[in-house]
Amino acid sequence: MKKIILGFIILFWPEAFLFTVQAQVNISNILATNVNADNAIIELNLPMELDGRVYVFLVWVTSEGKQAYLTHVAKGGKQLYEMRHHPEWRGPLKLVATNVNEARGSVRQATFLDEIELFLVPERLMPATINMLNKNTLFMWSWNHILLVVLAISALIFFIITKKHIVMALVFGFVIAWSMMDLRKMYDHFMIAQHIESQQITVPKVLEDLKVFLHRAGDIIGPNSWKTEDLGVLFRHFAEYKLAEHEYLPYESPTPPDFIITSKPKNREVAWEYKGYYLVKGKNKP
C-alpha cells in the first residue's frame, strides 16, 4: 500500500476565517477561538455515517500566526483527538477549525478519564493498517517508553528480591512488558471486531460503496470486456481483483472495452451507477 502524500499548503485569510488546502479541503468549521493549547485535547462529535469515510483535518493558528494541522480518520460519535504531541500545539491559539462541517466539538483540558480513553482508542481497520500501527500514549507518555520502564523495574525486582541471574531477570522483565503490550493489542482486536460486527460491514468503509457497485457491475459486464478509468489506485486494484474473472482490457489494448468503470461518466451512457461509481458503456457497446 503506497502512502498517499498530500501536499498541503494552507492559505489563511484571517478576515474570512477560511482555510483552503491544496487538496481541495475547505477548513471552514471553527471549533474554538482564543484558547490555550497547553494540556488541551479536542473533543469532536461526528455523525456515524462519516465514520471511517473521511479524513478530519484539525487546523489551528498559534498566537504568532503560524498554522499547523493534524489529520485523523473520522470516528463516528463523540471521540477525543490527541493533539499534545504536535510541537505547534502549545500556548495560546487564535483559532482551531476543521474541514468537517457536520462536526461539533470543543477544545478542553484533558481529565484523568480522558487520558484513559485516549490510551484505549482502538486501532482502525483501514488499508494503511497493514503498514504501520497507531501510537498509544498514556498521560502523554509513549506506551513503548512505559513498557521499557516496566521491563526495567520488573527486571530489577527479579534481580534484587528474587536473586535471579541478571539475564533471567531481564527475560522475566521482558515477558511482563511484552504481556502488557499484548493485552493492549488484544483489546484492540476485540474492539475492532465489535465495531465491525456492530456496523455489519465486510470491508473498510472507504471501500464499502465500491464493493456494492462492483457486485452488480460484474453481473452486467458478464462475458464482455471492461477496464477502469479515473479511479484512485486503491479503488482500481480493488475493482481489478473483484472482477478478475471478467475480461479485462489493459490500457495498451487497441480495442475499446465494452464497459468502463469510472468515477467520471463524462456524458457517456451509464449502465449502472452507485454512490459516485459509474459503469459506462464503451464505444462498441450498443
Binding site: 502512502k3 497493514i130 471486531a193 486494484h237 481489478e240 478478475a244
Partner: protein
Amino acid sequence: MTILAIIGHLVLNFLLGWSLLSLKPKERNWGEHLVSALALGIYTETIFVATMMFLGLGLKTAIMITASVLTGLTFLTWKRGHLRFPSLVIEKPKWYEWLLLLTVGEKIAFIGWQIFRMDLHFDDATNHWAGRAHSLFGGINWSFDPDSPLFLGSHIAFKNYPLGTIMWSTITAVMNGEWNDVIARIEGLVFFCLIVATVWSAVWRFSQSRWFAAFAAFTVSALPLHVWHAASGYSDTAVTTFGVLALAVLLRKEWFLAGIMVAGAAWSKNDGLALFAPSIFVGVGLWQFSWQDIIKIRWFEKQKWQNIGCCFLGIATLAPWYLYKQWHSLSLSEHMDFTWHPDAPNLFWDYVMMGPTNSILWICLFPVMVVASFVLHQREAGRAVFGVFWTTFAVIIYVFFFTSAYEWLKIQTTVHRTMLQFSGIAVIASSYGIWSLLNMKEFTQNKKTLPPRTQST
C-alpha cells in the same frame, strides 16, 4: 466446501512433504517433522505446477499431473515402508503453556475472524498477490505469452514477483471449484501457525526447556503486525515462515532442507532471496569453519564443502523460476539506485526501534544479540546463528540506508514488512543468544552442539 478444499489441500501438501522427508531420514521430533513436511509440501507442489505451466501446460492439466506424480510418490514411499512418523508425544501442558495457547489462540481467532468475516481489501493483496492469483484462476486475464500485456498478471501487478503463494491459492481454488476471499488469504493463517510452531520447536531443541520455548513462541506470536499480515493476503508471512524454517532446519544440520526453505522464501517474495540466501549461506559456512579454520586457511575439508553444496542445491530447486525469468528478461526486483541516505539511521531508530508497529521487540532484541555475539562464536551452532542474524540485518541496513528503497523506510511501509520477515529468525537467534548467556559456562566448555533429545525418523 471451501473448508474441505483447504483442509484437503493441506493434507495433500503434508503427505507430499512427509514422503520427501522420508527419502532422507533425520532426527526430528513430531512437531519438527509436521512443520517441515507441510512447508516442504507446499513449496514442492507449487514449484512443480508452475514449472509445468512454464513449459506450456494449462493450469488444470498441470495440477492433475502434479497430483498424480506426487500421490504416486507418496504411495511408493508408503509401500516401501519409508513413510514413518515420529511417535506423537504430547505432555500435559504446564500453566505457562496454557497461557501461551490462550494468547496464540486469541491471535488465531482474530486472524480467522478477519479471513472469514471480512473481504480481502489490503492494497498489495488486491494486485500483487490475490489479484494475480484470482486472474490465474480465472484464466481470461492471465497469459504466459511475454508479448501479452497480461503476461504473468502484469496488467495489475509486477510480473517479476514470484508465484509461490499465488500458485497455492490458485490450486486451492481449483480444488474448491470457485474463487473466494477466504481462499485468497487462508495460507496466512497456516503460515502464522507454522511460524509459532517452528520457533517453539527450534528453541525447545537447543534449550530442552519448555518454559523457554513457550517464551520464544509467545514473543514471536505477539508481534503486533503479525495478526494483520496473516489475514491480509500478502506474502510476507510466507517469507517469514520459510525464513524461520531455514534457520530451524539449519540448527538440525539439514543443509539441503535449509536451502529448500530459502528457495521457499524466495518463491514467496523476492525479498526472501535477498534476505535469506546470503545469511543462510553465511550460517552454513560458519557452522563448517571455525574462526581459526578461516584465519589459518583450513578450507579444504571435503565434507564441509559438501554440506555447503547441499545448501546451494536446495536453493537451486528454484531454478525453473529463475531460468524462466532469465529467459524472459525479468529482473530480480525493481531497479534500486545506490545512494547513502544520511537521515536513514535516525528514521530507522524512530520508526523501527521506537515506533509502535514493532513495539519494544527490536529495542530489546538488538542489545541481546550484541552481548550474546561475544559468546555465540564459541560453538558451531552459535556461529551459525550469529552469521544468519547479523547477515540478514546487514542486508536490511544496506537496502534501506544505501538504496532507493530508503523511500519505503521514509514512509514506513516496506520497512516494517521486512522487519516482520526477519522477526522469526531474530527471535530464534536472540533466544539462542539468551540461552548461551544463561549457560555461559557449559556453552564455552562444550564446543560441539548438544545432542538433541529427539527421535530418529
